[in-house]
């Protein structure tokens, strides 16, 4: 499955307002449009995953991810934080681009790991951070995925 097919314009924002790691996670979660209880549970699960080691993989990219029963299918979101934020990334540099991946505990199609790998591969393309920084709208992000993550 193409990454493009897993995102919708509603699951993309280019103007995160949060200034801290926790607030970033909360804003990301809101892109999935879950109910309040599910948001609360997912936040705790993502926090616990971050406590095992930051999902900031360097070069301004973070990929918070987990399995959680609050979703019934694989859900993804993308958010850009102009100016960047400290996310305890492995290179200690600010993070500008966040890819949220949440999969159900059991997944018939077993897409979670391939998708996680595809997102990491896309994000590590040396040209991608610059291209993400130049985006004007969500449609531009989806077009970039179409082009760079076939």
């Amino acid at each position: 499955m193409k990454l493009r097919e897993l995102f919708t314009p509603e699951s993309v924002t280019l103007s995160l307002e949060a200034e801290s790691k926790d607030e970033i996670l909360k804003e990301l979660i809101q892109l999935l449009e879950l109910d309040e209880k599910s948001e609360a549970i997912l936040f705790k699960t993502l926090k616990r995953r971050e406590n095992l080691g930051s999902t900031g993989i360097g070069k301004g990219i973070a990929i918070p991810h987990c399995r959680s029963l609050v979703v019934e299918e694989l859900r993804l979101a993308y958010a850009r934080k102009p100016g960047g934020v400290d996310f305890n990334a492995i290179d200690d540099e600010p993070v500008f681009n966040f890819f949220l991946i949440v999969a159900p505990p059991l997944e018939v199609s077993n897409q979670y790991l391939p998708v996680l790998g595809k997102v990491a591969q896309f994000a590590k393309d040396p040209e991608v951070p610059g291209l993400l920084a130049g985006l004007d709208d969500a449609e531009g992000f989806l077009s970039l995925l179409e082009e760079r993550a076939p």
């Binding site: 809101q30 599910s38 699960t45 095992l52 492995i90 979670y112």
Partner: protein, 130 residues
């Protein structure tokens, strides 16, 4: 929804049921890190030491289990070793652990989030999905 409401959302559900849902997610993480499917991804992409991470998860799991009342903990320990999902949603009156309809009185109970309940058919802890 304002971000602060995410924390308030946790007040909408019985704390024990919330803990059970957290436990389930943590057990999924633990399975993935303990020689499971995503261990290599976590090591290669995120520099996670799977042994250390699994040990940390076990600590948190033990701490959360300690918050459960004795009867709930007993039920949890009965069913957790044998299935990957100990907490399942009830959607349109059907338990998604066994796909058997649950009594209408339970499925439609507005107070269902304030009580820890189990499916009479499969024994899974249940919650009514929104």
């Amino acid at each position: 929804m304002l971000s602060t409401e995410i924390e308030e959302g946790s007040q909408l559900m019985n704390p024990e049921l919330m803990t059970l849902m957290e436990l389930q997610d943590l057990r999924a993480q633990h399975r993935a890190l303990s020689g499971g499917e995503s261990e290599s991804v976590e090591v290669e992409q995120f520099n996670i030491d799977p042994t250390v991470a699994a040990a940390r998860l076990e600590e948190v799991i033990a701490e959360l289990e300690g918050r459960l009342s004795p009867p709930v903990l007993k039920r949890y320990r009965q069913i957790a070793p044998n299935r990957e999902r100990v907490v399942v949603p009830v959607i349109h009156g059907v338990c998604y652990g066994c796909f058997v309809s649950i009594p209408t009185a339970t499925a439609g109970d507005q107070d269902v989030h304030n009580q820890v309940r189990t499916c009479q058919s499969c024994g899974s802890f249940i919650y009514v999905a929104s």
